[in-house]
């Protein structure tokens, strides 16, 4: 163990020494990528749909259980939904979706799951998730069908705006998710659901704050 550390330290010193010879004086850039600053929810929805995402709108977060249940029925999917035990979505009125069974264990590749996004990026129709106690990061990759709740006032124009709202400490994981999982590794033709979800369904919520804390 100590020997390995010595080797890494020696390598470090040698590499850094060689790199110092490569120092030059080069100016930084000043490019700013332009993006719309209003109508963000519409831009977000347009981009997300272009990335094969289902986008629905609900007026209030309390309508989410019924909306999700309806979507599952429409897709002829089993009326079961995985929900992380720590998520504040547990406080939603799931009883209004009477036929929907809520499960709190890890979803498998055929299951549906729901979470809420920390932000949305309008430029590309992208969802942003930070790791934390609420929903395991892996739940954005494990299920076959992912539902995500996103309030309008969490939609920002670009990735840059999301970065500017982050504090000094980084979460362990920050996921940017755009559309379902896909691959084009066989004959350069796109297929969905390579490893992550086959379906992604975003519910845009008009009401700007959650009714329940």
């Amino acid at each position: 163990m100590a020997q390995a550390k010595d080797m890494s330290d020696a390598a470090r010193a040698e590499i850094l020494e060689r790199l110092r010879r490569g120092r030059r004086s080069v100016a930084a850039h000043s490019y700013v990528h332009r993006c719309a600053t209003d109508g963000l929810d519409r831009l977000f929805a347009e981009k997300a749909r272009a990335a094969n995402t289902q986008v629905s709108r609900i007026a209030d977060v309390d309508q989410a259980p019924e909306a999700i249940w309806a979507a599952l029925r429409e897709a002829n999917a089993a009326p079961r939904l995985h929900l992380s035990p720590e998520s504040r979505l547990n406080a939603l009125p799931w009883q209004r979706a009477a036929g929907l069974t809520i499960l709190r264990e890890r979803p498998s590749g055929r299951d549906a799951a729901v979470s809420e996004a920390d932000y949305g990026i309008a430029e590309t129709g992208t969802l942003v998730f930070f790791s934390g106690p609420k929903t395991p990061s892996s739940w954005h990759f494990l299920p076959g069908h992912e539902f995500v709740l996103l309030p309008h006032d969490r939609i920002l124009p670009r990735f840059e705006e999301v970065i500017s709202r982050m504090g000094a400490t980084m979460p362990a994981t920050m996921n940017l998710v755009t559309g379902p999982s896909r691959t084009a590794d066989i004959e350069q033709t796109i297929e969905r659901g390579a490893h992550g979800p086959r379906e992604l369904h975003i519910l845009l919520i008009r009401q700007t704050t959650y009714a329940r804390g």
Partner: protein, 471 residues
Amino acid sequence: MSAPPRQFQQAAHKAMSDGALQGALKHLKAGFQVKRAHAFEGLADPESLREAGRAIRAHALSALDELLVQFETRVRANGGHVHWARDAGEARAIVTRILQENGARTVTKGKSMVSEEIELNAHLSRHNIEPIETDLGEYIIQLRDEKPSHIVAPAFHLARREVEKSFREKHVSLSTDRALDSRPALVAEARAIMRHHFETADAGITGANFLVAETGSAIIVTNEGNGDLTRLLPKTHIVVTSIEKVVPKLDDVAVLLRLLTRSATGQEITSYVTVMSGPKREGDADGPEAFHVVLLDNGRSAILDSPAREILQCIRCGACLNHCPVYGVIGGHAYGAVYPGPLGAALDPGLDGIATTYDLPNASSFCGRCDSVCPVKIPLTRIMRHWRNEAFARALPSGSFGFGLKLWAAAARRPWLYRLAAGIAARVLRSRAGNEGRIRAFPILKGWFQARDLAKPAGKSFQVQWRKRKT
């Protein structure tokens, strides 16, 4: 690491008669080229974006040592570990040791060209650790014991039938009369098999598309989500990457992402972009308990202080491969090196030495298309010319071509000698042609005549005729 010299010609020959490969290469035009063009047309100011990409990467290279130290400090503050490796051997040893210390027997892997460069998989297998590629393209070639033929689409050279054949051969536990003659069926099968591996692997190894100094982050960019399942589920996550990938700020990545995804697959963004900043924090619902970053040099620090410096700006989009007419005819394997196409022609001589790689910068017509599509404006042909200078100085592959060049230059520097030599050459060629307008064979410059006739020269050169007119 690279194929020995002269094998390039044989490999290229084989590639040109490979029907399946030639069929796959047709996808370059209708697929990658068209998609990239369409994505860039959607930008209001593509040239400003390319210039910003170049400036960000060049600025990062200008203070690489400082950025790496800053990166290391942040990773450690986040609870992760940073290891430094001068060459492939040191990198392999570090990864193996970490896995052994954690008792890891199976390891899932996200796509990592650096891990190909250091030949990690074979090394792990020799140490009783089973590496399982999870990117579908990498998984397919792992089953076939092949190398990637393209840096973004590793199984690019294969037709669907060949994938089906490999799945049937290797997935022996599945029923032999199952239907597998469609892409969705193949993807579904890979998904099911891989899910099991994701959930049972002891450790996960990924590469990194970018490293961020200010946050201590490694970033992966995928469409499948395999990299995420690789690093989220097991206890240990190892990032195998190289020293030139670091940029100062997360905002820099926001700009580079716009270039990378458009240049690689014609997308505005991929399905998944993940910013990984250390092991799980206290209270996190999931995530790795240990986060290790292995920084590989393997010749890059020397390249940084050389005329080939700018190749280190590369963000591995593959656009140069997709637009290269030579790659479009011979595919990736014929290059006999880790990185094919114009990227490889500019980088491999720096990593492996010019003695075994001189064919790569030479097998280019210098058409310049790669330069025009590179999202970070690397002067690829200029760097290839630098390697040709190195090869010339070392009389590679043999002295005779260089000798011929010097003879031509010696004549051209002396107009009287040039006229004399040209006159003699014209007479010899014209007598060879006889009454015909062209020559079919000649003992000098045989390569020309192997594939073409040569129009016979004029009886009197222009300058001789011109001077005569004037007098």
